[in-house]
């Protein structure tokens, strides 16, 4: 009987094309977002060719050769320097004033202009590089002039600034790892949501619950069949998401960022072992909650709120990054975040951790299903229609 109910509910679900496709959308976005964000970081990380169009390069041959020696690739002068920058065709244009040689020889401040567009973020890095080259050229000239006048260059540099940048891309990327357990959990919950609703609140809304209960079948068999169909749907979506992440991580050039993110078959297996119990429990809990709803829409409202819950532990662990603690293990969603992040970091996940996660979830699932059977004996559930 359990098998019979399972097959009916699963076929019924598969025929609901829209809800099947819909259940895959949110979880599949996880790997896509991960891919996108990493590409963005890589783009920022890879140095762009330092191309500098120069107007009036003939006025300052020594400055020009200093720039070239420091890695700048100088381009011929554009006809409309400001327009080129405004349209984003060049990060900047260097303009050397025609007075430059005369003032330079006279030992006065010679004027150069750097035309930039400060609102363009992607050009900031190159502009800063050119500014630094120009500044260091200026400082080395100043030092030479001071030495020629018998003054120590240090007199003109009372403070020496050294910048140490801590915003490494590795850190940013490590935070992104928290996304993986979040989306796996969403997949395990959202994947079965429509089945959970359709087999409970849906039966009530259609008025098919009463005829169903008029068969000589134990309520527990009905509940187990429906639950298995929900679990099957959520497992499929969770597996698809896991595969998506595996492929994404496989094809991302993480070494370029010097990042360690392990996501091989072993890691995938451990992650599945940690996330699957949530699919079992989540399916039972969603069915239980949806049974209280008289209509599909009402149930959706409740379950959408429930499915925000996995966000909480992710936030908590993002703010307070730590290794997973033993007390997190029997807490659904907390356990999943901890275990998945641990295994990606390359830490060993002991077998008993997975056993605790699995067993505690089975206990919660059992409670949900027993409550569900009780609920299906209640008059207000059987006959109370929307």
């Amino acid at each position: 009987m359990i098998r019979l109910v399972f097959i009916k509910e699963f076929i019924d679900h598969l025929r609901d094309r829209r809800s099947v496709l819909g259940s895959f959308i949110l979880p599949i976005m996880g790997p896509l977002i991960l891919w996108g964000v990493f590409q963005l970081i890589l783009d920022l990380q890879r140095d762009r060719e330092l191309e500098v169009p120069v107007v009036g390069r003939e006025h300052a041959p020594r400055l020009i050769s200093y720039l070239e020696a420091n890695g700048a690739h100088l381009l011929p002068a554009p006809t409309d320097p400001e327009g080129v920058v405004r349209r984003g065709e060049a990060d900047m244009v260097l303009v050397i004033d025609p007075d430059y040689p005369a003032r330079y020889s006279a030992g006065k401040s010679a004027k150069i202009q750097l035309i930039v567009d400060d609102s363009r973020h992607e050009s900031h890095k190159n502009v800063r590089r050119v500014e630094r080259i120009l500044l260091s050229y200026s400082q080395s000239l100043a030092a030479l002039r001071l030495i020629a006048r018998g003054v120590s260059p240090e007199v003109a540099a009372p403070v020496e600034l050294e910048e140490i940048d801590l915003a490494t891309p590795e850190k940013l990327a490590a935070n992104l790892l928290n996304m993986v357990p979040l989306f796996l959990m969403l997949a395990a919950l959202v994947g079965g949501m429509n089945v959970a609703i359709d087999t409970t609140a849906g039966e009530r809304e259609r008025g098919s619950l009463e005829p169903l209960l008029l068969n000589p079948v134990r309520r527990m068999s009905l509940v187990l069949g429906k639950w298995l169909a929900t679990v099957a749907a959520s497992t499929l979506v969770a597996l698809a998401t896991l595969l998506g992440f595996m492929l994404t991580v496989h094809f991302l050039p993480l070494e370029e960022l010097g990042m360690k993110m392990l996501f091989g078959p072993y890691q995938a297996l451990v992650m599945f072992a940690a996330v699957w119990p949530l699919a079992l429990f989540g399916s039972g809990l969603q069915m239980l909650i949806a049974t209280f709803a008289r209509s599909f829409k009402e149930a959706q409202t409740y379950l959408n709120l429930l499915n925000l819950l996995p966000m909480a532990p992710s936030m908590f662990l993002m703010l307070k990054p730590a290794q997973s603690q033993w007390w997190m293990l029997p807490l659904p969603t907390m356990a999943q975040v901890g275990t998945v992040v641990d295994v990606m970091r390359g830490e060993a996940v002991p077998g008993w951790h997975l056993a605790v996660i699995g067993l505690s979830s089975l206990v919660y699932t059992g409670v949900c299903l027993v409550c569900l059977v009780r609920l299906l004996g209640k008059e207000r559930i059987i006959f109370g229609r929307g």
Binding site: P211, L214, N215, I382, F383
Partner: protein, 243 residues
């Protein structure tokens, strides 16, 4: 055979069913007649094991429904008040699912579905998904679903509600046919013509009680009215809720 013995069901202060007793014999059509809210549906729900009575019992072929609900349900074919279908399944899949839930073997099931298709004239709709069905077509599927395990006792709650003239006629023919085959048919309605035309035995409900029962002729005699409609109005004391 169905026997109802002094059933009582309360909801707080409200007494939905108050000491209801009657019997429905095999091969006969028994009609429950009464205005909406008179206790017909509650009685039938107790009979179908979904509501536990506070007192009294319901017997199906001698089986106490509350004690052995599954044994009773195997002998009952029930068309309940709510007759929802699964829009993404075909009519045939509905019959196959409910037949299997009733424990009918595959070979018998195929044979029974063929019978029901011809009995209910479902050839055109049997392999279509239920989603676009008319009210009449939906009722046919719901009735076939209730009859798929060849129950010896058939309970129809407001079976003709919402049906057009042709479907109503077909339903009456079916009910007569079932009784002729020796099935015990219990039929509830608030439509008087229907009950007086179809039933061998009428049980009149009002305010949670059975206030009269007997053959149509006997009821007319009791109320000393020639016209059954007037007899009912006299028995019930009001014509509110009757059509």
């Amino acid at each position: 055979m169905i026997v109802i013995e002094s059933l009582e069901k309360r909801y707080g202060e409200v007494i939905a069913v108050n000491g209801v007793s009657f019997g429905a014999e095999d091969g006969k059509v028994t009609g429950l007649l009464g205005p909406n809210g008179a206790g017909k549906t509650t009685t039938l729900r107790i009979l179908s094991s979904l509501i536990k009575p506070d007192r009294g019992r319901a017997l199906v072929d001698g089986i106490d429904v509350a004690e052995r609900p599954h044994a009773a349900l195997e002998r009952l074919g029930i068309l309940p008040d709510s007759r929802g279908l699964y829009p993404r399944l075909t009519a045939r899949e509905h019959l196959a699912y409910f037949g299997a839930l009733q424990g009918v073997s595959d070979a018998q099931l195929a044979q029974r579905i063929r019978e029901l298709v011809s009995l209910l004239d479902m050839t055109d709709i049997i392999d279509r998904r239920v989603a676009g069905f008319s009210q009449g077509e939906r009722t046919k599927v719901a009735i076939a679903r209730a009859l798929v395990h060849r129950p010896k006792n058939v309970v129809l709650d407001e079976a003709t509600n919402g049906l057009d003239v042709m479907s109503t006629r077909a339903m009456r023919t079916l009910i007569r046919q079932l009784a002729a085959e020796g099935t015990c048919v219990l039929f509830s309605s608030h439509v008087m013509q229907e009950v007086s035309e179809l039933c061998d035995h009428i049980v009149v409900f009002a305010r949670g009680q059975v206030i009269a029962q007997g053959s149509p002729a006997l009821l007319r005699q009791q109320a000393s009215e020639d016209n059954l409609e007037n007899a009912f109005v006299k028995i019930i004391g009001t014509d509110a809720g009757l059509k």
